[in-house]
């Protein structure tokens, strides 16, 4: 990797020393370097991590965690791979939650907006407590999404939940036993499969390929010598 260089025009030689902070992991105290992510703090404190880490990039939702900062009574949620530790923080990983996922044949749905109430009949029982929204580490207005699903505004739901990493943190908090992320997933898929016109250009292209429209061009390419092909590629800008 990059070496230090004497000629570096704007060199920053100072290197911060790690300040250690004390945190609590599942009720036990550990000293770890300040500012590392919670997952790295788990490794640092000697824990084997199998469940609780996936993409390590903030996309898979495997690392759902609860945390509380020093002297603050509020317990918050986060993705442990995306959250830096600070002094006095208390952390616990969220266990998997046994939410019920409905199964369906997305393409065979006849009335997707009605079917929502058969697949997830608890959805309209939302009591508007907003706990799901407060629990969402992706800052999605989950409660609003649940209502929009109930009122059949599938388009808005699909847009609102594009950020959903399926961490499931909105589920254990729900007093109506709704799994908002699963509802939103169904709604988004139904929106894509049933309420958006298929793109015309795509069918045209598929037909062109089937009809062999590019066969002459292919033939030309495969007749070329290695050198000719390289030259041809070089002309494409």
């Amino acid at each position: 990797m990059a070496q230090e260089d004497k000629e570096n025009v704007i060199d920053q030689p100072e290197v911060i020393r790690h300040r250690m902070v004390t945190i609590e992991i599942a009720g036990k105290k550990y000293d770890v370097p300040e500012g590392i992510t919670i997952i790295k703090a788990l490794w640092y404190s000697g824990q084997e991590v199998v469940r609780g880490a996936g993409c390590l990039g903030g996309f898979c939702g495997a690392c759902a965690a609860y945390y509380r900062t020093k002297d603050d009574p509020k317990v918050r949620t986060c993705l442990a791979c995306q959250m830096a530790v600070q002094d006095g923080m208390s952390i616990t990983m969220m266990p998997p939650f046994p939410a019920r996922k409905a199964t369906y044949d997305i393409q065979a749905l006849k009335e997707p907006k009605q079917d929502l109430f058969n697949l997830y009949p608890e959805t309209p029982l939302c009591r508007n407590c907003n706990a799901c929204t407060e629990a969402c580490p992706q800052q999605i207005d989950v409660r609003e999404g649940v209502w929009k699903a109930v009122f059949g505004d599938f388009k808005s739901v699909s847009e609102m939940f594009m950020d959903c990493v399926m961490c499931g943190m909105c589920t254990p908090v729900c007093i109506a036993d709704i799994a908002p992320n699963l509802v939103a997933l169904y709604v988004s898929r139904a929106q894509g499969a049933h309420f958006i016109e298929p793109p015309l250009g795509l069918d045209t292209r598929i037909k062109e390929i089937q009809d062999g429209r590019f066969n002459d061009e292919w033939a030309k390419i495969f007749k070329m010598t290695e050198k000719e092909l390289a030259d041809h590629c070089a002309t494409v800008k």
């Binding site: 990797m1 990059a2 260089d5 000629e7 570096n8 025009v9 704007i10 060199d11 920053q12 100072e14 290197v15 500012g35 992510t37 790295k40 490794w43 000697g46 084997e48 991590v49 199998v50 469940r51 880490a53 996936g54 993409c55 390590l56 990039g57 903030g58 996309f59 898979c60 495997a62 959250m83 830096a84 199964t103 369906y104 044949d105 997305i106 992706q138 594009m162 950020d163 997933l185 988004s188 898929r189 894509g192 499969a193 958006i196 016109e197 298929p198 015309l200 250009g201 795509l202 045209t204 292209r205 598929i206 590019f214 061009e217 390419i221 495969f222 290695e226 041809h232 590629c233 494409v236």
Partner: protein, 527 residues
Amino acid sequence: MDIHALQQIVHSTRDARRKQTIPKFPPAEQDQLIHKYHPDYRVSAYRPIRFGPNADDKTVVELAALLEGDSPISDDSDLTPDYTTDVLVVGGGGAGCAAALHAHGAGAKVMLATKLRLGDSNSVMAQGGMQISVASGDSPVTHFVDTLKGGHMQNDHDLLKVMVEEGPSIAKWLLSLGVLFDRDGDGNLHVKKGGGSSKPRLLTCSDYTGLEIMRVLKDEVLNQKIQLLEFCAAVELTSDDSGNCTGAIFKDLDNHRQIVVAAKSVILATGGIGRLHIQGFPTSNHYGATGDGLCLAYRMGAKLMHIDTFQYHPSGAVYPEQLIGALVTEGIRSEGGHLVNAKGERFVNELDTRDVVSSSIIRECEEGRGIRTMSGRIGVWLDTPLLDAEQGPGTVEKHFPAMMLQFERFGIDISKDPVLIYPTLHYQNGGVKIDTNSETNVYNLFVAGEASGGLHGRNRLMGNSLLDLMVFGKRSGLTSAARAAAMPHGKLTLGHLKRFRAEAKKHGSGSGVVSPMILPAYTRRED
């Protein structure tokens, strides 16, 4: 100096840079740059593999040790199957899900086993998009030519032709499952231009393309009630007396038990190698990207190809510390974001291929024009606020919500401040050699997705991987399903392993490590 003070040069030079055009390097200069600065050309990082199907081929030392590594399974293990299935898919990323769904759709009994949870993978992180030639001014042939050029003319032509030609029907399949690709005003699929491509060809779901595709595919795997084994890592394959693949052995990571699965064919979709941290590079890859499939296939006698070349994505985050190695999507550069050195200058055409851009960044840093953070890391600027300046306020937020949020968590507003980047280990260009059905030279052993090799040549073009997963996932699934119908189960033996061990012994024993790695050893053992 603190990071904000360092950033000033980016703001103060922005207007001047906007008027500049930087031409791409001519081929000769490209080659020179790559040879001098690309990590693939760091001779000391490589060594020949001593034995096995790729004996004497060079690869990075980290991978060579694993390929020569010993299996955790003993020769006389009990191979009574715990499960029996037609098609066994190993890996729960995009390639694995596509393979399982197509094999199941074709009527086969399918089991999908994966090391973490279903979907915890590299696939879920793909932000930039998926290349498919759907636009009217584009064609599969142009897609072919662009990819070949990007791959330094080393791509397998047959694999590549199959991929570009099947692309559009893959888009149709995904749409029918409910994947929400971005659209134009006229309802057609919106296409973006990617680095190294001559035409706009990237299909996107804002900057959550991989997440959206994976949410849908995972849901579909569950809806189809495909049998799942989560938190189970494949640690060895089984072979019959002719050396054909007949199943796999897993380690259950929850209870450490061994699980034997008999299958008519096995599809390895185990992804890449980022977590080997080749040459000490940080990585953008998921926790389980440890090259397991390569080791398993290698011991079975499957030939690997292009395993001396890796993709270092030009823009891995350098600051803040928590995001080290995380990907800053290429989309930023596709939309016109500049790369800027410590002097406030651009130094490369930002849309050149990844190996060229990465090499040029390394050059800037090695020649002293990099920016050093207080924790001692070095990088160059990616001018993200430029997008708002060019296309109006709110552009970054609207087009890159995932990235906005990722940095916002650490108090950084990338629409106002540039981000510091340095190449990060991103993709394994090569892998197990496959044919157009995704099968290896070992009968009934298929490899699909990033674990396979040949398709991308020596440098994968951005956005081609997602398509690769879908096309070859599908082909492996369909081929193995079709074959299963008329085929009995084979005998489960470890004949291949005995042969491999004998060969290791002949070469003065293996590398002394046990492979596959399964998970990187990040847990600190002592003070």
